[in-house]
Amino acid sequence: MQPLLLDADIFYLYDGSLEGLLSAVFLAFDSKENPSDILVEEGLQYSLLGSYQSVSTDLDHAERVMTGIVSTLGARCYEEVRSVYLSDEDHKGGVILRFLQYAFKHGRHSLLHLAHPAVNEFKEMLLRVTNEAHFIMMFARFAELEGGVFFARVEPRANVVPIVMEHFAERFNIQPFVLFDRAHQLAGVFDTSSWWLVDTRRLDVTFPDNSRSEEGFQSLWQTFFDTIAIEERHNPVCQRNFMPKRFWGTLCEQIPPELRKRRPSTETPSQAAKRAARLTGTVAAHGEIAGQGHDAQAGPCALEAGSCP
């Protein structure tokens, strides 16, 4: 395998849009140049070595690249390119370019050449983005605002709101909601019929307070979360592996009990019952508990419990 030769000192610059990136890819193919990277122009740290070439966004060129990808490599591959474009990593432009250079040369089979550096880099970056999107599907927590709009704030490490909006819009189609990505200042807005994206960088919006029922649901959820853990199986490392700490800031169940508005009891009922039994003697505890279970079915049961020494 002949390694691709890099024109080490050429860098393409684009405006940060997907069309811009595809235009740069088009230019690289068209001019038969091999730039070592394609970078976002805004906020770039220029180095003394190397020449920088700013590529203007050309919708026509971008579309030609898009149709090229779809026809030679498949629609799914185009989806993947788009996902990788949403990565936060600086070198995504270069990664996409090298992947496309390799894939256009070797055809559809090359998508399986996972050990080839160009494909490997691309697939790894894709995995990081799709994982991040999945994390958002798992850990976005909506809160009902006054007026019935649901609002969730997330801080993903890739700009994944565009990928996950379809998922949420489908399942939550009876409620208007806003999914706000604070890290990328982008909000997905759904109004029960369609969704769109809003750039919030130049926007100053204040949200209404939580609705009245919201606090109740949050404390119900916190209680459920605390109760469902089995003490004898306590395993915080396992918990953190599955649910990294960076997401805890937006999870209402991970607010420590002392900071919660309404502090639920950390005792499980069985512990509470044991404690009560210790304090008041067994017979008294029976009386109390039989009194608590006010449902009709509790009757025979409490009797049964009472008859046991």
């Binding site: 050990a115 109760t227 853990a229 067994t282 419990a305």
Partner: protein, 499 residues
């Protein structure tokens, strides 16, 4: 009682149910209705014990007329009791779902009066949620053995997954610990649901969408491990036959956590978590790695090795199949390499069409080489520093496991390193750990007696003496165990009467 208190009681009562999966059915959204399901399922949180939370797991009621020895909700326990009304349950599920806390509902219940009465009330709750509230998320319901067929059909058409708990690996243990339940009715319910799914699926008169109306995500079951004396051999053969005859999606294992003071429950100080883990590994081998149960475990060595995983164990016992050349091996053989999973095999399979893979390529493909490197060659060469000798491989892998698992795990688990250094007398005093110790030691002896071993050095390395080994190999048989327990129980009652 406030909803918050009810939820606390009923979630606390439901937490020992293992199944928390929202997978197996893909249902797209419908305009005007809340919810959809994805085939893979989505976890939404992880509790402090590291288990995933994907469904709102509650009991409809923890009032129970049964008196099962292992259960926290048994009739004689004086725990607070509560019952959720259908409306409360529906509001709770909808509220949680709208906030992206859950994928759906897991509904179980204590037995209110009779199984039929309970199931009828469960049906009512779920029907309200599905039809009145238009909920399209995932619902998993527990079927109580002994429920009538009509009610099972009604419940089955409302939910995605059903499960019937088999509770214990043997009919005898079930009878001892759950006197009101019997094996025949459990298996009867499993068979009925299985037949229902099949019949519905094969009904040519129905459109394809309607063919998956009845329990579309299949059924599962669970059993408690460590509360009764059955061996892993018994448990795995049982689950294999359940997969075979009832086409279950999952068999769950639940490490026994002693919740009741009970003369019948064995003396377990710690939940046998590592044993549960190994059983799950074996279960995965059967479901995804084309292993037959007879390859994983045999009657002469009825317990899985706690120090190495079942796949390593198989590889070490069939060392003549190894090392395999990663660039030439068949797909089936790649699946049998310890440390390489199904995804890893797929990546290797795809990537080697383009080039001959070396160890760097494997690393790039995210193949974990920690275990695999002992069993594979790339282009005819081993990874650096590998000595292909079964006993040294066993030692390396077992030491790794020891370092990883031993910190938090005590006695009954890897007692071999801690308890058994104090000698055989102490070991004999403890009934329950004896069983677990026997299996570990038996597993070790297998490798030591095999052609591959360097027996003496391994035994020393493990810190066990051969006398312990000989003593513990005579572990109690299943019935013998229960006879002993029964005698102990009689003695206890007798003593209590005198007092």
């Amino acid at each position: 009682m406030e909803l918050l208190d009810k939820l606390t009681i009923l979630a606390d009562a439901a937490k020992y149910d293992v199944a928390c999966t929202s997978c197996g059915v893909s249902r797209s959204a419908e305009k005007g209705k809340l919810g959809a399901t994805t085939n893979a399922g989505i976890c939404h949180s992880f509790s402090a014990d590291g288990r995933c939370i994907t469904l709102l797991k509650v009991l409809m009621s923890n009032v129970c007329s049964y008196d099962c020895a292992y259960c926290v909700n048994r009739a004689r326990n004086d725990v607070p009791r509560a019952t959720l009304s259908p409306r409360e349950l529906a509001e709770l599920t909808m509220g949680f779902y709208r906030r992206n806390y859950i994928e759906g509902l897991f509904l179980s219940s204590g037995v209110l009066r009779t199984p039929d009465y309970t199931t009828e009330r469960m049906c009512e709750s779920i029907r309200l949620l599905r039809e009145h509230y238009g909920f399209r998320g995932y619902i998993h319901a527990k079927a109580i053995p002994g429920t009538s067929d009509e009610l099972l059909v009604r419940l089955g058409t409302l939910v995605d997954r059903m499960s019937v708990n088999i509770e214990f690996p043997s009919a005898h243990s079930l009878k001892m610990l759950a006197p009101e339940k019997n094996r025949a009715s459990v298996l009867g319910s499993l068979r009925f649901i299985h037949d229902g799914i099949k019949e519905n699926y094969q009904d040519k008169r129905l459109s394809t969408t309607k063919r998956t109306r009845f329990v579309p995500a299949g059924q599962s079951t669970q059993m408690i491990v460590g509360a009764s004396p059955e061996s892993d051999y018994h448990i795995l053969n049982l689950s294999a036959s359940l997969y075979r005859s009832f086409e279950l999606r999952r068999v769950f294992f639940s490490a026994y956590v002693p919740v009741n003071e009970n003369p019948l429950s064995p003396l377990v100080r710690e939940a046998p978590l590592l044993r549960e883990h190994r059983l799950y590994q074996a279960d995965w081998l059967m479901r995804f790695y084309q292993f037959d149960v007879s390859e994983i475990i045999d009657e002469d060595h009825p317990f899985l090795d706690l120090l190495i995983d079942p796949k390593c164990n198989w590889a070490l016992n069939h060392i003549d199949h190894f090392p395999i050349e990663i660039n030439k091996a068949s797909y089936d053989m790649l699946l049998r390499v310890p440390g390489i999973g199904v995804r890893g095999v797929q990546r290797v399979w795809a990537a080697r069409r383009e080039r001959r893979l070396d160890f760097d390529d494997l690393r790039r493909l995210n193949i974990s080489l920690k275990r695999a490197r002992h069993f594979i060659t790339c282009n005819g060469r081993f990874s650096e520093g590998i000595v292909f000798d079964p006993s040294s491989i066993y030692r390396t892998l077992a030491n790794d496991a020891h370092r990883r698992h031993c910190k938090g795990v005590t006695a009954g688990q890897l007692s071999l390193f801690e308890d058994y250094e104090t000698g055989p007398q102490k070991a004999q005093e403890q009934t329950a750990p004896l069983v677990t110790a026997a299996m570990t030691v038996a597993a070790c002896s297998r490798h030591m007696s095999g052609s591959c071993g360097a027996p003496g050095s391994l035994a020393e390395n493990m810190g066990i003496s051969t006398t312990v080994l000989a003593k513990n190999n005579t572990s109690a048989t299943v019935t013998g165990f229960w006879e002993e327990e029964a005698t102990r129980r009689r003695e206890n009652t007798h003593a209590a009467l005198i007092a």
